[in-house]
Every structure is written in structure tokens, then in C-alpha cells.
Symmetry: C2
Subunit: 415 residues, 2 copies
């Protein structure tokens, strides 16, 4: 481990990463597509990584970081988790993509239906976008209606109907989307009213986790009203658990609110980084799920399913969500204490397992970027705008190490 | 290996598969979603597989088959290929889903751009549908137009805009699709004319491989006219190589026709069964590819990329496409000879690496189903309606074994 008192070199001393970026820029548009493009990150953040283990990441220039992003969510037990990887290797030795699934498919589907009270069945896919899109399609198939209510600013994937971009998107791709504001009961009611008899579904994230803005847990009133509105109209309540799933409650993020979705979309942490997604649903939607054709070349692959069984079993065994809550609270308390010590006003939100750290009066994220760049130099990989992710591989010492790095970041802001 | 003279038990003697199906039917709608549901296959076909190696598949009841489907395409070097799996394991030991890609991303992108004369760049994803959808979006972004011409009956994935189903699909999902018939030059010209100044792309499969109907290679006149029409209108020629890719020509399926696409979609065989997809494109589309936001949680995963580098390198080293052509021709010649010997009229089409076997006067595929069921009992896994797939793991002896099984199938039809 690098020591917090021993800052790492700045970006200009990262020759391997720079050489890789130069090569990448020739054969990949913009050097990288999508959310992992390092140009979206503060100075000094590496683009490439050569090793990951537990909560530690190694970049191509030999720097080592305590990881607070965990691949933007998929890694929940820690990188290269021995139990998960052993299960994956054992299945890979037998077969992965065959002419049908392996028996582990049934084990996984039974495990998920057993874990989640709302779920009578599940279907597996590869991307979060596969799962959210299929959930919408199932809602439309079952109800025979078209309109879907979506929270303004929510992220549900990067297909044309939901990508935050507009390039290449046609108006028709979003013709049947209507919007409401998360946690706004009256606004949701009005949107339901406007959709009228064409309302197929209300789509809602486990909690509000829009990039760059304070995260919000659902209020009980909002969650319960969303459920009641769906019951009254026979529309589907679809919970997008792609980001939230398996970090807050293995039974489902809204379970503690006493609200169960009709359909839910899962991905990211479901197999500790192996590519997998799932749609779960109530009995009422089983016939639609049998009727709708959705499939993919790799959707029956056994290795990711074996990894998922191992991941969910291990999370249950160690009570992983509670463990991440403890670690996340330690991080939150430590950040609050250290920021206060430096006289800085910070804004922490989100559940402890999935924290967001913002700074007061920082509309362009300048403080956040400067903080992160300095914390990175001291060995902790924070994100300046996006939900961060704890994993079960963090120890109290790792959190304290990250807090020392954060302290250096806060100190830097006071200069 | 089972002997062709020693037929395997019929479906009613498959207790393990039956028990797995019974469990699956409770927690998975219809027992399985999508194209691998065994209810779409003849009697006796297993739903579950417990092992795969080279060209051999083991079902859950201990039956062993020579595999002519290769997971519906992804497996091109053979199941559990030692070189590919060694590369995957080596990368998995270092890290898979990290906070950015591993250096192998650059190696893979360079390898693909080097292999394919049309490609100036590439972007990676997870599903064939990801790749075809992104290619359409890039065409729309670059041209600022919306209409996409699609061949009637062609399969381009299972998202709402392209799924063969209609359940849950809205009219708007397909508002800007227009149709032509594959290899119909005049029809294509008319469709281009009708799309007028709103033409964004012509989307075309590497060859016509619609399920259940005679496959057709593109005629040079059709391919060249498609290219010329795109040149005249500045629309994008998009080649869907998801099924065809890496079996006919590593440089691209239309390369021997002297026709290069603007954009191409790849998946299936690219990493010998590891989940990966790619979009490649000409320089003109680089800016659009930088502008369009498309991303996924697992799209930067290093293991599938390492598997892809190993797969493509090995295919090039052993001239895998030529090898599969030899094997496929041996299968085709042998099937023709044996069918003729039994006085049966069969219809073989598709390139030798991707054969389709149909029977004359068989509109409901009854002969095809009966043939396949009997060939399966003799240890060969054929498909009655879908493109089949050779792999480099087949030997001449494996093909001859499959031919003996086919002989039993043909004989069965004459009873």
C-alpha cells in the first residue's frame, strides 16, 4: 500500500497510461466510449488498469488505489473474489455457451425467487439496459398499453429510448415516455392522470441517484402511492434495481418500505462483475414473459450464472449488505469529521453502501474534482459526481486509509 | 463416443433433463425464454447441458453428441478451447471489471482494425443487439436522417425495434424502418427512392439466413448496388455480421465481393463464447461514434477481450475459416450422397461453414424434425430449421460420425 503521507506522481508522470491512451485514440473513437472515459474524470485519473484484488486497484503505471467505485457497481464482494472466481472457473471447465443452459440456471432462478418476495419468476440477460427494456416490454405486453412514466433525470440505460444523449435518437424512440419527479407524489398522480387509459407502467429507480445531484431515498409516501396508483390502474410498477440491487437489501430495495414491484430489473452486482442481468416479476406477468421474444447469444452462458449463485450465496452468508452499511457509515462519519475539521461544507447523500459526496457551492464540480485529484494522489479512488460503491472487501483499515487520503484532499481545498 | 449403430434412449428416458425442466417451469416463464427453448426443437432434444469440449456436448442424462450448432454460433474454435480459456483465466486472475479497461482493449481494437479493411475504429459491447442498435444510431447521428432499410424476414436482434415478436412492441419502435427483399436490386432501389432525403442506412446481413428458408449468399450485383446507393445518398451501408462474422472471412463477409460496409455489427463468434460484441466503422463515422452515448456495466470487462484476442489470433493462425469450409463441404457432400442413396430430396444452402439442411415438400418441417430426432438418437446434434455452425474443433472423423447419424435419420424417413 502507498502511504497517505507519500503522494503519488501526477498525471504527467504516467507514461504507460499515456502510451495506451495514444494507441487507443487511433482505433477507438474518443479513446473510449461511454461512462468509463477518463476524460470525464479529474486530472491524474488513469484510464487503464492492470490488476484488481479485493478493494485494491493497480493502474498501468504501478499506482495502487483503495477502490471506492468498484467498477461503477458490479463488484460487490471485492475484485477477483476467491469464492466467486472458483465457482466461475469450475463451470468454465465444464462448459459455458452450450446449446442450452446448464443446470446452474435453475439453481440461480430458484435462489433469486427465494430471495425476493415479489418474484415468482426470472429471466436472464446481459446488460442492465436489456433488463429495463424487457421490463417495459413485458408491462406493455401484459397491459396492452404504451405509456411509461419515467423520473426526470433518471438513468435507465443507454439504448435510444433511455440514453442521456440525443445523438442518433429519433422522437419516436421516446414517443410513449412521460415524466414525473422522484418523490413528488402530486406530480406522479398528475402524470398518471395524463397517461389515462394508456398507462402501461411506472418506472422508478430503487432510489434517486442521478449523476451530480443529491441522492434521495424514496419516501414511504411516494413508494406507497406509486404502488397504489399501479394497483388502481393495473399498470406495472417497475423497479430499476440495476444500480441499487444487492447492496441495500437482497430482498429488494423497497422491501423495507413494504412496497413490492410488479417487475424489477437487475444487473451490475448480481454476479460480482460477471456479465449478467435479470428481470424478475410477479405471477401476473408470467404469461407476458412467456409470450415476449427476448434472447441473446450469450444469455444462457453458464459461467456468469455460476458466479451469480456464488455471489448471492456469499452475500447472504456474510450479511454483506449490513457489512457494507457499517463500512459506508464509517466512511461517511469520517468524511464529515474531516471536512468539518478543515471548515469545509460537504453534502453527503445516498445510503451508506452507495455514497455520494458533493461540495457546497460547487455547481461545476471544481472543488469535487480538485478534492478527488488530490485524494487519488494519496491512494484513494473517489468519484466527484457519481454514486460510489462500497464492497464487502473493504476493511475498517481500508476505509481509514481512504479517509486519510480524503483528508489530504480536503486540506488541498483550503490552500 | 456412442456408436451410430447404438441409438440413444428417447426423450421419455431422460429423467434428469425432465426433472430440471419441471423445476425450471416454476421459476422461469415457459421453462426458458428465447431461442434456446427446447420446446422449439424435435422430440428427444435435451434442454440442459452439463459439459462441452471441442465439438462434443454432454447432456444432463449422460448422452454425448457431435455438436453442429455450437451454441447457435458463438463457439467457433470448439467448446472450452484451451488457448482461449488459458487467455481468459490469465486475465481473470489479474482483473475483469475494473474502473476502466485493461490494456488488452487496445490490443483487441488494433487487431480488429488490422483484420478488417473497412474498419478505422471499433467499440465493444455485450450483445449482437447492442451492436446492431448502435450501428443504426451512429448512422442516424452522422447523417441526421432517420429511415433504415431492412430486409424482410431478416433477424437483427430481439430489442423492440427488431424482435420477430410483436408482444409489447409499439408502432413507434419501428416507425422509421422500411423493407426490401434480400438480393432484389430493383426492390432495394425502389425502397431507397421512397425513403428519399430521410435515408440514414441500408442494413443488410452478411448473407440471407432467415430461419426455415433457403439461405442465399449476396449476389455481387446486389452488394455492389447497395454500396453504390449508399454512396449516392450518403446513407450508411451497415453490415450485420453478428451471425456470419469470423466464419467466412476474418476481413468481413463481403470483402471477397469487393464491397466494404460503412459500419458493421459483430458478436457471437468474436470471443469463442465469451460475451462480447463490437461495432466497427469507417473514418467518416468516427465523430458520430464519439458523440453517441452508449455504454454498459460490463462493456469494459477484460476477460472477454482477452478471449477475443486469443480467438481471432488462433483463427488467423490456423486459417480457421478455410478449415471450417473444408469440413462443411465434407458434411454437405456426405449429406447429399446419403440422402440420394435413400431417394430423398434435400435442399442444402448457406456457405459450407454455416449450412442449412431442409427437405423438399416439407412446409411444416415434419421431415426435418423426424430426421433430426433420429440423428440425435444416433449422436449428432443437427437443427431442423436454423443455420448450423461448423467449428474448427470438428475432425473429418467427427463429420463422418455425424454423417452416419444423418444416414440413420434419412433411413428413418423412408420407413
Amino acid at each position: 500500500m502507498p502511504q497517505a503521507s507519500d503522494p503519488l506522481p501526477s498525471a504527467s508522470f504516467l507514461p504507460v497510461d499515456a502510451a495506451l491512451r495514444a494507441r487507443a485514440s487511433r482505433v477507438i473513437p474518443g479513446g473510449l466510449w461511454g461512462h468509463m472515459n477518463a476524460r470525464l474524470l479529474p486530472e491524474g485519473y488513469p484510464q487503464f488498469f492492470v490488476r484488481a484484488e479485493g478493494c485494491r486497484l493497480h493502474d498501468a503505471d504501478g499506482r495502487l488505489f483503495v477502490d471506492l467505485m468498484n467498477a461503477w457497481g458490479p463488484v460487490v464482494l471485492g475484485h477477483c473474489h476467491p469464492v466467486v472466481e472458483a465457482a466461475a472457473r469450475a463451470q468454465a471447465a465444464q462448459g459455458d455457451c452450450m446449446n442450452g443452459p446448464a443446470p446452474v440456471l435453475v439453481d440461480l432462478a430458484e435462489l433469486i425467487v427465494d430471495l425476493m418476495p415479489h418474484a415468482a419468476w426470472c429471466i436472464f440477460a446481459k446488460n442492465g439496459s436489456d433488463a429495463t427494456t424487457l421490463a417495459l416490454t413485458l408491462a406493455r405486453a401484459e397491459t396492452g398499453r404504451r405509456k411509461v412514466l419515467v423520473a426526470r433525470g433518471a438513468y435507465h440505460g443507454s439504448l435510444p429510448w433511455c440514453t442521456p444523449g440525443i445523438a442518433g435518437v429519433t422522437a419516436e424512440d421516446r414517443a410513449h415516455l412521460r415524466h414525473y419527479d422522484f418523490n413528488d407524489v402530486a406530480g406522479l398522480e398528475a402524470a398518471v392522470e395524463r397517461a389515462g387509459t394508456d398507462l402501461a407502467a411506472i418506472l422508478v429507480s430503487g432510489f434517486r441517484h442521478d449523476v451530480g445531484r443529491r441522492h434521495e431515498m424514496p419516501t414511504p409516501a411516494f413508494a406507497q402511492r406509486a404502488r397504489a396508483l399501479c394497483d388502481e390502474t393495473r399498470a406495472a410498477l417497475i423497479l430499476d434495481e440495476v444500480r441499487t440491487g444487492f447492496r441495500l437489501d437482497l430482498a429488494g430495495t423497497w422491501e423495507t418500505l413494504g412496497v413490492r414491484p410488479d417487475l424489477a430489473a437487475w444487473s451490475k452486482a448480481i454476479a460480482n462483475g460477471h456479465a449478467l442481468a435479470a428481470v424478475t416479476g410477479q405471477e401476473r406477468f408470467r404469461a407476458a414473459a412467456q409470450e415476449v421474444y427476448a434472447s441473446g447469444s450469450f444469455w444462457y452462458g453458464a459461467v456468469a450464472m455460476a458466479a451469480a449463485v456464488a455471489t448471492l450465496t456469499e452475500l447472504r452468508r456474510i450479511d454483506g449488505t449490513a457489512r457494507m452499511a457499517v463500512l459506508g457509515q464509517r466512511l461517511r462519519d469520517g468524511l464529515a469529521e474531516r471536512a468539518s475539521h478543515h471548515g469545509l461544507r460537504i453534502d453527503q447523500s445516498g445510503p451508506p453502501q452507495m455514497p455520494l459526496l458533493l461540495f457546497a457551492d460547487d455547481p461545476e464540480f471544481r472543488r469535487a474534482n480538485a478534492f478527488c485529484a488530490e485524494a487519488l494522489r494519496h491512494g484513494a479512488y473517489f468519484h466527484p459526481r457519481h454514486t460510489m460503491f462500497l464492497s464487502c472487501a473493504h476493511t475498517e483499515e481500508d476505509i481509514d486509509f481512504a479517509l486519510d487520503a480524503a483528508d489530504a484532499g480536503f486540506r488541498h481545498l483550503t490552500r
